[in-house]
């Protein structure tokens, strides 16, 4: 099983090349890969249902405890079967559906990357490894939604889904880190054994909140549900695969996976019940008024995802069973219906219910699949969807808390789903031929295969409920429960209240359908709300946030070098000023002598600098700068630095020459700008700080400086009596080597700049 992910990724990488070779056969050939994996998983399933748990574990990043670890228990393998099995059908379907699409090769590649990531996600036995695959599904979903990326709507939808799910993913990562920290291991199979101690852990509330955020965004729970209908921009095969049967289930999968560890607390139950209930209800209501087949299916998917969350929140054995059955049933019928929608779109040229009708004869195969899948969705016996509805009813009726509220809510939502099922499964095919379907034709065999197989599976699973329960449902449910799963799933339990409710639901749905115009009209305001709901808030939030960021960025990095200098100097000197020990600035250093010439030189520096501050012309400023340099040179000379004095003097002469050459060529302001108050403030701060710093520098010398060594060795070992020079060319010659490199670079740089001058002058004159 550890080979599945790299193998599928590898196939994905080769897919485009394969596609250019095989053309129309690429779909069927590529489908062999997931089909093989599905068979492999199916072959293992009997053993797994008997309690075997194949494992693989190899060390990846030992210092983090991250392993390349996989585990195939009942829940994992159920998902492997779904992902690979449906994947095979989707690949075949896509090969035909997107036959004319110029990017079919890329589509395959993305799809296989997704498939590999999804397989990894459901089998990973390491939280961080799971997260790796989690993010890869997000990225591949992004790429698939915008396969037609010339359309702006597709790009926007892709970005929106990316941001919503990535935001949740990042929160979840933080939650994982805390969880791993609390549990002391990142192995999921270990973590789920520590439920009690984890729930008592101090960071449990954070862990729970952050991980739920990740699961809810991924599984399109209210208020993050909006990205899913928008994601219907994806080509239909991707919608059927990612956005109904597999990827959106990753969130609830994670909840199911971690429910032994995190579940069972009041916070868990309350959050999942409230969010799940809100999601299922809202999804059902919003589905009522949809005209576009895919959007209708998307909202009904949201509704089912909410139901699944709600069931996990209940936490009872029967709820766990209902969870697995609902999940399976939904995967079959929703996958089928999406493909039906694709066929209708393909064959009749429209996905709008208001334009469709009477396709029964033109599209018999598709109609048959639609009917079966729709019946399952509606929960009609003897299909698997019927079982799903019955167990779900049972679970909410027996809910430990709030069944008085949950039961009517779930049943009411089920009615809306019946209504939706009839509209999708039946209405396009019966009655008169719709306006958009004059020359409709049924899809070819490759596109019939998927819907028919999926729809039939729903029937078979219903009829063979016994084996299905023993082989698929119970092993998965027992993982969720960490214990014995309930048994006794059957089509016929006698005349029970639940059966009555079930039939009532169907009847109510049919009743709504009879008055469909009024239902659709009555539900339409819901969409107005939706358009101003979380999606609107999310988009506006980004818009406003980015606009504010742009304003902020522009106000800060505002293109004023003057401002940059003020802030840099102001902040710099403020930081430094804070560090000065004002209390013990000892003014009198160890040097007692105060030669008159020294005082005069200092005052010359002060005076010349003051002149510079007031100078309005470069000429005066340069002369004053020269005077400053002369004063500094004098100070060097007075205080025992003849080398410095000499060098400074010559440099000063050369500096004046340099300035005299360049400054007159610079543009001159029309009139000088006044010194701003803030500039004066920063200057005072800087000047005072540096005066203070220099006092600090002159005050202390408690340590013997390393230069004693130079004094002792200069003559004996370095054979020079000018210690400063010996330091420069021997003791610290590396500094000097660096310095002359700097000089050389500067000269070459100036040369480069000067060479640039001439052509630009010519340009100016031209």
């Amino acid at each position: 099983m550890e080979w599945m992910v790299p193998f599928v990724f590898g196939v994905g990488a080769l897919a485009p090349a394969l596609h250019t070779r095989l053309r129309v056969w690429s779909g069927p050939v590529l489908a062999l890969v997931p089909a093989g994996i599905a068979l492999y998983a199916a072959a293992r399933q009997p053993a797994i249902s008997d309690g075997a748990v194949p494992e693989f574990r190899a060390s990846w990043i030992p210092s983090l405890g991250i392993d390349w670890a996989f585990r195939q228990d009942g829940l994992s393998n159920l998902f492997v079967l779904l992902v690979a099995g449906i994947g095979a059908l989707i690949v075949v379907y896509a090969g035909a559906y997107l036959r004319e699409h110029p990017r079919l090769g890329r589509f395959y590649a993305f799809l296989f990357v997704f498939m590999g990531a999804m397989l990894g996600l459901v089998t990973a036995d390491d939280l961080f490894l799971l997260f790796v695959f989690w993010e890869l599904t997000t990225v591949s979903s992004f790429l698939l939604i915008a396969l037609d990326h010339e359309k702006e709507a597709a790009r926007k939808a892709a970005l929106q889904s990316l941001l919503v799910t990535a935001a949740g993913g990042l929160a979840m990562l933080a939650g994982f880190i805390l969880l791993v920290d609390a549990a002391g291991t990142s192995a999921i199979s270990q973590i789920v054994l520590q439920g009690e101690s984890l729930r008592a852990h101090a960071s449990y509330p954070w862990i729970l909140a952050l991980i739920l955020l990740g699961a809810f965004t991924k599984s399109a729970q209210v208020p993050f549900h909006f990205w899913l209908p928008a994601a219907m921009q994806a080509p239909t095969p991707a919608s059927a695969y990612l956005h109904s049967s597999t990827m959106v289930k990753a969130g609830v999968f994670l909840l199911a996976r971690l429910s032994p560890a995190l579940g069972g607390s009041d916070a868990w139950a309350a959050t999942l019940l409230v969010v799940g209930a809100a999601t299922t209800l809202l999804g059902g209501l919003l589905a009522l008024s949809q005209d576009d087949l895919k959007r209708l299916l998307a909202y009904s998917t949201v509704s089912v995802l909410g139901l699944l969350t709600l069931l996990l929140g209940l936490g009872t054995p029967i709820a766990a069973q209902a969870f697995v059955v609902t999940l399976l049933a939904h995967a079959f019928y929703k996958g089928a219906l999406f493909l039906v929608a694709g066929n209708v779109d393909h064959g009749a040229g429209s996905r709008l219910l208001s334009q469709l009708g009477g396709l029964r004869e033109a599209m018999p195969w598709t109609a048959a699949a639609a009917l079966l899948a729709g019946l399952s969705m509606a929960g009609g016996p003897p299909l698997f969807g019927f079982l799903a509805k019955e167990t779900a009813y049972e679970a909410v009726l027996e809910a430990p808390v709030g069944s008085w509220l949950l039961a009517p809510l779930v049943i009411g939502t089920a009615v809306t789903l019946v209504f939706a099922a009839i509209r999708v499964g039946l209405s396009p095919f019966k009655g008169e031929l719709g306006e958009a379907a004059r020359d409709a034709h049924d899809a070819g065999p490759a596109m019939r295969l998927g819907p028919l197989v999926l729809a039939t599976t729903g029937v078979l699973a219903g009829l063979l409920v016994g084996p299905a329960e023993r082989l698929l449902v119970a092993p998965a449910a027992s993982v969720v429960l960490q214990g014995e799963a309930p048994t006794g799933l059957a089509l016929w339990h006698g005349f029970t209240p639940i059966l009555a409710l079930s039939l009532l639901t169907l009847a109510a749905g049919a009743f709504l359908y009879r008055h469909r115009e009024r239902v659709v009209a009555a539900a339409a305001p819901g969409m107005a709300f939706e358009r101003r709901g979380p999606a609107w808030l999310w988009d506006r939030g980004w818009e406003l946030g980015l606009a504010a960021a742009a304003r902020g960025a522009h106000a800060f990095q505002n293109g004023s070098l003057r401002r940059y200098l003020v802030v840099t100097l102001g902040v710099g000197f403020a930081v430094v000023a804070l560090s000065l020990p004002l209390s013990d600035l000892r003014a009198a250093g160890p040097t007692a002598d105060t030669p008159i010439v020294g005082i005069a030189a200092s005052l010359l520096v002060v005076f010349a600098a003051a002149v510079m501050a007031r100078a309005r012309t470069p000429f005066l400023a340069v002369a004053a700068l020269g005077a400053v340099g002369f004063g500094v040179s004098l100070l060097f000379l007075m205080f025992s630095a003849p080398d410095l004095a000499l060098t400074q003097l010559v440099v000063e002469v050369l500096t004046v020459v340099l300035l005299a050459l360049v400054l007159p060529r610079l543009p001159r302001p029309a009139k000088p700008k006044p010194a701003r108050a803030v500039a004066i403030g920063v200057a005072v701060l800087g000047g005072a700080t540096m005066a203070g710093a220099s006092l600090v520098a002159m005050a202390g010398e408690p340590f013997e400086p390393i230069s004693r060594f130079f004094e002792e060795r200069s003559v004996i070992e370095a054979h020079g009596r000018n210690i400063v020079n010996v330091i420069l060319v021997d003791f610290r010659a590396l500094d000097t080597l660096g310095e002359i490199t700097v000089l050389a670079v500067t000269a070459l740089g100036i040369l480069t700049l000067l060479r640039r001058r001439r052509p630009s002058d010519a340009e100016v004159q031209a």
Binding site: L625, F639, V724, R757
Partner: protein, 115 residues
Amino acid sequence: MTLFVALAIGVVYGVSILLLLRGSLWQLLVGLGLLSHGAHLLLFAGGGLVASAPPLVAEGATQPAAGSADPLPQALVLTAIVIAFAVLAFALVLGDRAAAKARTDDLDAYSGEPG
């Protein structure tokens, strides 16, 4: 003496900051030239101000006279002076080239922001 030198350093820094913040290209360049004097003086003064005792060894002696000035800061300042000169030369030529393109003394034209 330390007070006078500290005063000189403070004023040199204050004035050079003022020049940098005038928003004028030529004053920025002159200010950078002045700034280096302040840094050199501080580096130099940090080694201690010792009058009339240069770190030279008399002919025939093996060590300088006791109490002579610390040679290390002098060596550092010496290289710093030469570097500062070279950097100032580069900054001046760059300023000249930039001014030839921007054709203004207003510093805000030299901040690299488009528009």
